[in-house]
Subunit: 426 residues, 2 copies
């Protein structure tokens, strides 16, 4: 055992960034401890498909310790980190003693955020965890069940109105899939309601949907959504969310199901470090992804704010987090070997993808832009490729093929009742 | 519209019996309303596989209204029945108005029961619903996570001890699968504990396991369990269940995870009808499965107590419930056509199956008894055959093949935290 073998790297968070760091450090002469408050890594880009009953939970999530079982220098612990004791170089945990580190990597991700309106959360839940997704799935499916009971036409229409706030990729994907669920999958399952009469309304404060894409791709996506029967409302900020609808400026829009896809905030890593942060709570890291003044603490993924080489902030997407995990692992290895530090982190944008329902998508690789059915196939193949593990790739591919061919969705289960939500969830 | 078209059959409960009744009445000149408090039909014989992380929830459950979508005279409603107004021939519902019936079929199933010790439930949960199964899955997986943290060897051993109370088919299946999970699937995933040291203890008050089978099959099953590393304790009734273990007579057995597979009680249909019932709360029905004195009210499945033609009670298994659903549908159709009533219900026992882990099973068809690997294949094929829907058959077959070949289990997700369960579930 050399001295380097005693170098202890603690990674908090087994998302895309943390997992990539662990894997790339696994061969190095270090001990690694991976701590996450959940037992599973989640493939977040497909989480909206769980929320809309297209995929079961187990096909987009894997036990972290299973993913890391082959790396003998990695210990995985299920635990909730509550802070960082920087003076003593320790991570603080809920209900367990502290864990010391030589190098710390914080990759704790983000939650959806309501920017000063946390009271909206019960009425407009967001989708960041498996629990969020099954809760939203229950809400959507229960709304149709309520409509089947309802005899008052106005109230029935409220149950059949679905509002999605925020027209980024998640909001667009949710709106498109809910429209397909109502207008196609559920058609014929009910006797008292025609699910095709359901309204799906996508609300966006900005002037266009998918603002991260070029204008022509975003206007194509808007038309594709409208073909699916989604109403797109642009330039209308939400001023209130309630159980029975939302306020768009002065207009009240009655709806029993509202989903939030408008914003996220970083986990409290900036507070733990008392480090400067941006409006979304992300730690403003150095160009080498270390926390200011702390070369032994890295912050990566959705928890970090760093400008790309083009001056624009690195986006909060899975490929960026993975590149950062890889970069940090390389930097730590270089240090241990006494080699010079690598150049600052540079984000390579491999392309932007978004999907609209099960037959259309937009793809922007920079050198080529695609839209329509071909783009959808590229989107599907790319996502299946990045899914971890052969079995899940196969299972997800089968599921999609099934939905594509038959229009049925297998994961239409109402489970996990909210104790407090009353009759709506039964 | 004829008068017969106005005959309204209300079915409460979409388990095996209720669903079979609905399907066989679908062609008759009746209106049918199916009411269930859940939106899904559950393939209960495989529920223990969800509890032990072998199958995801969505592969053994299907939306009821999807299963009945093709039967245009069937309306499916999601609702909780709270009673029966026999004088006015109405079913009473939680939060909705009553629903009148001409003929009522109660097929409301059973829950696990503690026979006067309801205080044991939090410490020894049973497995009857999807929520039960995911809760138990979380407990089992969390116990290994706790053991990984624990430094005190005695407490670590408690986290690695799993007790199953009751050695009927469910108890045997749970014990065998947990032993495989610990000794095979999870091996190598942990750094501080050797999961092969986990103890799985099957406790039975009676003199042998699987008392419904012949003595030689049950002793074979006992040896098969012991080969999997399960400790079988016979003739030892449980006298107490606590958070940290159970009392077997005067002996205290420390264990952090205890599961209940010892008994069930019928749903409160007997109370709704003020009808005579047996010890397990089942309605003592007439030979034609009607409630005493009420030819318009049928009770079937786990909710009914009826003697078979051999004098022995009809067992609470899926084939019996299906045969009863079919029988009742035929009887109602005969009545509507003015035909004579069919002979009393007679149960045909098509065979008894139980599985012990992933390579052994016992099968008793009466004319032939089988055990070992061949019996396991028969068990697997029979269960896949009875799964509803092509897609689920394929998905379950793929899952099992994957576990069989690789030993990995894909559904190892800790979700749905208990709000009150503290650190054990994290």
């Amino acid at each position: 055992m050399t001295a380097a073998d005693d170098h202890h790297v603690v990674i908090v968070g087994a998302g895309f960034g943390g997992l990539e760091a662990a894997r790339n450090l696994a061969g190095a002469p270090v001990r690694i401890t991976m701590i996450d408050q959940r037992n599973h890594h989640l493939f977040q880009p497909l989480l909206y498909q769980v929320a809309t009953a297209s995929l079961p939970t187990s096909e987009i999530a894997w036990p972290i310790r299973f993913l890391l079982r082959g790396y003998k220098n990695v210990t995985t612990l299920l635990g909730a980190v509550t802070g960082v004791d920087r003076a003593n170089k320790q991570v603080l945990l809920e209900g367990e003693g502290p864990i010391g580190f030589d190098t710390l990597i914080l990759a704790t991700g983000a939650r959806h955020a309501y920017f000063g309106h946390d009271e909206w959360e019960p009425y407009a839940p967001g989708v960041k965890t498996l629990e969020d997704a099954t809760r939203i799935r229950r809400r959507i499916l229960s709304a149709f069940e309520q409509a089947e009971w309802e005899t008052n036409p106005a109230r029935r229409a409220e149950w059949l109105t679905f509002v999605i706030i925020g027209a980024g990729p998640t909001g667009v994907e949710l709106a498109g899939t809910i429209a397909e669920l109502a207008h196609d999958t559920l058609r014929g399952d009910f006797r008292n309601v025609d699910t095709r009469s359901a309204r799906v309304i996508l609300v966006e404060a900005g002037p266009r949907i998918l603002a991260g894409f070029t204008e022509d791709l975003s206007s194509y996506a808007e038309r594709a959504l409208e073909r699916l029967g989604v109403e797109v409302r642009l330039g209308q900020p939400v001023s209130d969310c309630r159980a029975d609808g939302i306020m768009l400026g002065e207009e009240f829009l009655p709806a029993r199901t509202t989903l939030w896809a408008a914003g996220v905030a970083a986990s409290p890593a900036a507070e733990w470090l008392e480090a400067p942060s941006d409006r979304a709570g992300r730690v403003r890291v150095e160009p080498d992804l270390t926390a200011p003044g702390r070369p032994d603490i890295f912050v990566i993924g959705d928890t970090a704010f760093v400008a790309g080489t083009d001056g624009k902030p690195v986006p909060g997407v899975a490929p960026a987090a993975k590149q950062q995990g890889l970069y940090v692992a390389g930097l730590i290895k270089a240090r241990l070997q006494g080699k010079p530090a690598p150049p600052p982190f540079a984000y390579r944008n491999a392309g932007n993808l978004a999907t609209i329902g099960k037959r259309a998508a937009i793809v922007d690789f920079g050198w080529i832009k695609l839209r329509g059915r071909l783009a959808w196939w590229i989107w599907g193949i790319a996502h299946i490729f990045f899914l971890i593990g052969l079995r899940n790739r196969l299972a997800v591919a089968l599921n999609w093929l099934w939905i594509y061919v038959s229009g049925h969705r297998s994961a239409r289960l109402i489970t996990q009742r909210d104790p407090g939500s009353g009759s709506a969830s039964r």
